[in-house]
Structures are given as structure tokens and as C-alpha cells.
Amino acid sequence: MTRDIVVRARGVAMSYGAKRVLDSIDLDIHRGEVIALLGANGAGKTTTIEILEGVRSPTAGTVEVLGIDPVRAGVEHRARVGVVLQSWRDHGRWRVREFLHHFFVLHSPFRKHDSWAVDDLLERVGLADKARARIMSLSGGQRRRLDVAVGLMGNPELLFLDEPTAGFDPHARREFHELMHELVDARATTILLTTHDLAEAERLADRILILHNGRIAANGSADALAREVAGTTEVRWTARGERFVHSTESATRFVRDLLARDPDVDDLEVRRTTLEDTYLTMVAQHEAADAETNGERA
């Protein structure tokens, strides 16, 4: 399989003074892939995205985005990459449509035949009825959708999203997920997003990266990661007033045997491992490993 590599990072490290934020990160992202970057606050998610955007230079290692070093990227490169900021209160006095039109004009020298028109984009992010509203009058969720619209303006080949659905209501979240699926299916857009919402990561991402203490602690699809953690399915039951929990790879066979073996089984519950379980288990494992290495050093 020879798919285009859109992002290639080798041995990327980042320190602020004595504080090491990223430690030898190796990463390949292929065209059309959706990657979710997970990790606790301070795990290095934002720094990773900033390095790939070219906002920061790593202290060590090499980065290539769309074939070039993003720190040295020129105007054309900026037009091929979309960034969705977690914005706050900039451009509050602007009206929604003229704000988007401003970025439309900025992108017009680089327009492709299938780039969005301003009104289509407003429609797509569900802000068509807010076209004349001032940005400061928007709710938090509406504001984030406008941020997404700015990121999509140039019909980018690669889209970075930093916690795109923070502050979304369930309806807006559903629509946002549909938009992301459309981008990937119809336009083969490559997407790298950070999120704290593990259900979202599971729904959107082909591949999940878990950052822990500046290293990639896990890298794979949600299913693959779940298989790495012992037992993918959890079976719970009660018998003779006692509660039991058992993790297994093949729940059906286990339950069949269990019922055959023990007639007192009651309150049977079979639960497939969610990404959340996997995530928490993996982070706990890494923390235990870290504590051990530190203990040996001491």
C-alpha cells in the first residue's frame, strides 16, 4: 500500500528550558486519515499540533508537512493547511458573513475549483441564519462552528483542529461529526484533532494516538488499542449475593460456559470495552511503568 504521506515526524523533541514536553516523537500520517490525539492536559497535545503547524520549531528532530518543513513554509503552504483555533473574543464586532468573506478574499489567489463559497460554508456549519449577526452575540458553540468554517475556507488538504467540539450541544456535535465525515469521504481531507471527548475520538478517528509525558504511549485504531489492553469485553454478574467481574476476549463463549456451569447467575451484564476504558487503563499502565523507572533511578 503506497499512500501519500502528509505528515512525517522523526525524533521530534521539545523542551521549554529544563522542562521536556515532547520526547522523540515518530509519526506518519497518510492522506485522508483522521487522527485523534488524546492525552491529559500537559501531555504535549497542543505543542505537537503547534510544531506541525509551523508555529514552533522543535528542539530536536525533523518534521515534514505536505513535503516541506512547516517552520520555513511560505504563503502557498499556509493556503493548503487549515487551522481551527480555540478562539475567544477576537473580531467580536464583525458580522458573521463579512468575517468569513474577509478570509474568502485572503484565500482567493489560491482558490481551487471545489473550494467553498461563503454562503455554502455558512449553510454547512449551520450558521446561515446568523449571517448578519455580530460575532460577539454568538453562543460558545456557534463561535466554534465559525472557527471551523474559517479553517475550511481554503478547502485545505490538511486540517488541524484543537478541541473542536468543546462547548457544543449534542445536536451541534452530531452535525460537526457529519461534516468531518463528509470532508474525509468527498474531499480526502487529512484531519488531525485533539479532543478530551473519547466517544468523539472513537467515532471520528481512523487512528488514535495517546500522548503521555511527551511520548506516544499508544498508536492504533480504537479496536486495536482495546485488544492491546487485556480483555476487550467485561462480563459482570451476581451469584449468591456476590458480585463478579471478568474480562475476556470472547464474551459469547465465556457466557455460555458460565451459564452452563452455574445455575445461580443473575444480573448478567456484558459490556464491550470503550475507548475510555482502554485509555484509562493504558495511561495507568504507563504511570506505573514511569513510577518503576523513577524508583530504580532513586
Binding site: 497542543t46 487551522v83 477576537d90 478574499v105
Partner: protein
């Protein structure tokens, strides 16, 4: 469309939208109106206060001084405050992530400031001319020279605004300290007190700064030639005025793009998030 013409168009649009937004904001409009009305009132108050030896009213002397002051206030102080505010709130970062975005931002701010200056000058000049008709003793010729000096003054003050706004990332310190510094510059500029009446060290400081030369140039354009005897060296020193304003403009035009680019590159998601949290705590 080429990259440059796209950015020029986007920046012009940006400047216009920002200025129009300001005109649609009541607090901004009140600020403009009080400024123009207050200074016009000062000119009107001194309309009959004729300087005996020169035969002109103090009002005529105040008028060019206020124009000089407005240039510094809107073009440097106001712009610097805006630039540091828009660093803090992420406007600059958002633009910097777009193709040719930092240029578009700078050009947009330039257009906005020029519109605000034209509007402020216009309101004050019209109001003051109605109240005190004999401000224009030198006629069309004098007025055109004054416009020339104003343009040169704007060229000296705008880059200064960008430089100061880029150097400080806290808009509140630019607003507060900047106001004091601007006040000191005004005091040492001879626009309200003739420089010849101030201590020598203030005279020296004043002649290093651009405001003195802008005020001098405007007075030379609008006041009778005899008035020059009141000035330092008893001369209008026209060449020196043009030279000093040109020097400030050149310095700023070299420094401003370098600093703004550097600042825009340093902006990041993390610094923005930190400032957002800080500002939220303050609220």
C-alpha cells in the same frame, strides 16, 4: 488574482469594516464627538485673545497644535493600544495562520487608522472653522502645505504605533503607561507651551521627538510668517522639520515590519490559552 493584490484587497476591506464597526459603537462615537467638540471649544474660547505683537488670536496657534496632537494620539497611542489588544485576544494569531495574513493585518490597521484620522481631523477642522473663521489666514496654499505635513506626520506616527504595540503584550500597560508617556511627549513638544519657555533639557528631548517637528511644520503652514520669531532659532526650520519627520518615518518603516513579523510568529495556541485564562480570572 496575485497573492499581493488579494492581501491588499483583504486588508483594505478589513480596515473599512473595523472603522465602520467603530462608527456603529456608541462609546467610540461619543469618544470621537467629545474629542472634536472639546478641542473646538478650546479654539473658540481663545478666539478673541489676540497676541498684540503678532496680531493673531491664540486660537489660530492652538489649531495646528491640536492637529499635531491628534496625529500622535490616534496614529501612535491609539494604534499601539489596539495592536497589543489584538495580540492578546488572538486576532493577530488568527491572521498569522492565513496566507499573507500578517501583512493583511498590518495593512488593515493602517487603513483603519487613516480613516479614523481623516474622520477626526475632518470633524475638528469643520467645527473649529465654523466657530473661528480666521483660522485660515494663509489660504489654500497654507492649507496644502499643512496637509503635506500631516501626511508626513502620519507616516512618522503609524510605524511608532506598530512598534510600541508589538513590544508590549499587555494592552492595559500600553493604555496606562502609554498615556503617561504620550502626555510627557505632548508637554515637551511645544504644542501648548512654546518650547523656548521650557528648561533646556526639555527643549533637547522635545527636539528629538517627532511631535515638536510636526507642530512646527503645521504652524509654519498655517500662521503668518512673522510668528516664526517666537520659535526656537526664530525660524520655521522647514528643512529640519521635514528631515526629522522623515527620519522617524524611515526608522519606523524599517522596524515595524520586523517587530510585527516576529511577534506574529511568536504567537501560539498555548500563549493565547494562557492569556485567555488570565483575562478570565481578572473578569
Amino acid at each position: 488574482m496575485t497573492i499581493t493584490s488579494g492581501a491588499v484587497r483583504a486588508g483594505a476591506m478589513r480596515g473599512w469594516v473595523e472603522f465602520r464597526n467603530s462608527l456603529q459603537t456608541p462609546t467610540d462615537v461619543i469618544y470621537y464627538v467629545i474629542g472634536a467638540a472639546g478641542f473646538s471649544a478650546a479654539v473658540w474660547f481663545f478666539r478673541d485673545d489676540v497676541i498684540p505683537e503678532l496680531g493673531i488670536s491664540t486660537a489660530a496657534v492652538i489649531f495646528p497644535s491640536v492637529l499635531a496632537l491628534m496625529t500622535l494620539f490616534v496614529g501612535a497611542y491609539g494604534l499601539a493600544t489596539l495592536v497589543s489588544t489584538e495580540r492578546e485576544d488572538g486576532t493577530l494569531l488568527r491572521l498569522a495562520m492565513q496566507p499573507a495574513g500578517t501583512f493583511t493585518y498590518a495593512w488593515g490597521q493602517t487603513v483603519r487608522t487613516l480613516l479614523e484620522l481623516a474622520f477626526t481631523f475632518g470633524m475638528f477642522t469643520i467645527l473649529a472653522s465654523i466657530l473661528v473663521p480666521d483660522l485660515w489666514a494663509r489660504g489654500i496654499g497654507g492649507a496644502s502645505i499643512a496637509v503635506g505635513f500631516l501626511l508626513l506626520g502620519v507616516l512618522a506616527c503609524l510605524p511608532l504605533g506598530f512598534v510600541v504595540g508589538s513590544l508590549f503584550n499587555n494592552p492595559r500597560s500600553v493604555g496606562g503607561w502609554g498615556f503617561l508617556v504620550t502626555g510627557a511627549i505632548v508637554a515637551a513638544s511645544g504644542v501648548f507651551l512654546p518650547l523656548s519657555e521650557l528648561p533646556t533639557w526639555v527643549q533637547i528631548a522635545g527636539q528629538v521627538l517627532p511631535l515638536y517637528w510636526l507642530g512646527l511644520g503645521l504652524r509654519s503652514a498655517l500662521l503668518p510668517a512673522d510668528f516664526a520669531v517666537v520659535e526656537l532659532g526664530e525660524s520655521w526650520r522647514t528643512l529640519e522639520s521635514i528631515g526629522m519627520l522623515g527620519l522617524w518615518a524611515a526608522m519606523g518603516l524599517v522596524l515595524a515590519p520586523i517587530l510585527l513579523q516576529r511577534v506574529a510568529r511568536r504567537e501560539s495556541l498555548a500563549t493565547l490559552a494562557t492569556r485567555r485564562e488570565k483575562a478570565m480570572q481578572r473578569v
